[in-house]
């Protein structure tokens, strides 16, 4: 790999990190505005028992904002990228399971919206992109760390 390739890949990781980071800060903030509505969105998936729904609704918004902020900082990007890759797997599984069970719902991903199956498919696709992006950033950050470790 040439130095030019490496720089290009660094810029790619930076661009992905910024895009995902800003998107998650926005998504977390929009959920934080109406936790009750978000709890209803989680309940609509019919996956969690009642004792876990509100805890999930209270945890996810700060988690998303924290991950978004950590994605913006090179030193913390790696952990945030792994967290968001795992989050994407969780969201994707929940959406696909809801689609398979014939449910029509609003995932509450970016605040309140109308329940819609086409939107659920779209959001499933976005989660695949999110997973790919977060994984790219994670692997890239891990590789950079290994290079730095060997250099010191």
């Amino acid at each position: 790999m040439t130095g030019g390739d490496s720089r290009r890949r660094d810029y790619l990781a930076l661009a992905i990190s910024l895009a995902i980071g800003v998107a998650f800060i926005y998504a977390g903030a929009s959920k934080l505005r109406d936790p009750l509505q978000f709890a209803d969105s989680i309940a609509a998936f019919a996956l969690l028992p009642a004792v876990l729904i509100n805890l999930m609704a209270l945890t996810l918004p700060p988690f998303e904002i924290a991950c978004g902020l950590l994605m913006l900082r090179p030193r913390t990007r790696r952990v945030a990228a792994l967290a968001l890759a795992l989050t994407a797997v969780m969201f994707f599984s929940a959406l696909v399971s809801a689609l398979a069970r014939g449910l029509t719902l609003d995932c509450g991903c970016f605040g309140v919206g109308a329940p819609s199956r086409p939107r659920m498919w779209l959001e499933s696709g976005l989660n695949i992109l999110l997973f790919a992006g977060a994984l790219t950033v994670y692997l890239r950050s891990t590789a950079s760390r290994s290079i730095r470790s060997r250099a010191t």
Binding site: L32, P35, L36, A39, D40, A43, A50, V51, I53, N54, L55, A57, L58, T59, L60, P61, P62, F63, A66, C67, L70, R78, V79, L82, A83, L86, Y138, T142
Partner: protein, 172 residues
């Protein structure tokens, strides 16, 4: 990788702590256990009819002659606020049972009829004498946006004492 996973778990735990703290200081905190919209509505309705009498917005009251005219002419939706057992034993013809005791359940059961009568005259009665159920139900309906609600203060006691027609069973 394992170290990163531990950090992710720590991040999730910290987020839970922050979320609980935000919820604690929120003006409308979530309860720890989720309630469905139906359960929340039921709780809200139950709170409405449990309001102490001194908080009641005074609904208009009517006497027996006026109530009888209204019943005969079917000019209003008549609601019986007594428990279903008493309603089944005897009630004003055409009345529906919206009991204070099971207000949330009855309100949901009668929602289509009640919604259609939102701006129509509604008269509520209960046992009569010192009973407060009709006033509590009338107040709850006014709070829920019904605009024309009054109370027949004589209640079932005055109606039956005048030997006026009665219907038995759970049907109107």
């Amino acid at each position: 990788m394992a170290r990163d996973l531990v950090l992710v778990v720590l991040l999730a735990v910290a987020s839970l702590g922050v979320g609980l703290a935000i919820n604690h200081y929120s003006s409308q905190p979530l309860p720890l256990v989720y309630q469905t919209p139906e359960q929340r509505f039921d709780a809200e309705l139950t709170t409405l009819v449990a309001a102490p009498p001194f908080k009641i917005a005074p609904a208009a009251t009517i006497g027996l002659p006026e109530f009888r005219t209204i019943v005969d002419a079917k000019r209003a939706l008549i609601l019986d606020a007594r428990p279903s057992l008493f309603f089944a034993a005897g009630h004003v013809p055409g009345a529906l049972n919206l009991s204070r005791q099971d207000f949330a359940r009855d309100y949901r059961r009668l929602t289509p009829t009640l919604k259609a009568a939102r701006d129509q005259p509604i008269v509520v009665y209960c046992a009569g004498g010192d009973c407060h159920d009709s006033r509590l139900v009338a107040n709850a309906l006014l709070t829920l946006g019904f605009s024309n609600v009054s109370v027949f203060t004589g209640g079932w006691e005055a109606w039956s004492a005048a030997k006026l027609p009665a219907t038995t069973g759970s049907a109107p």
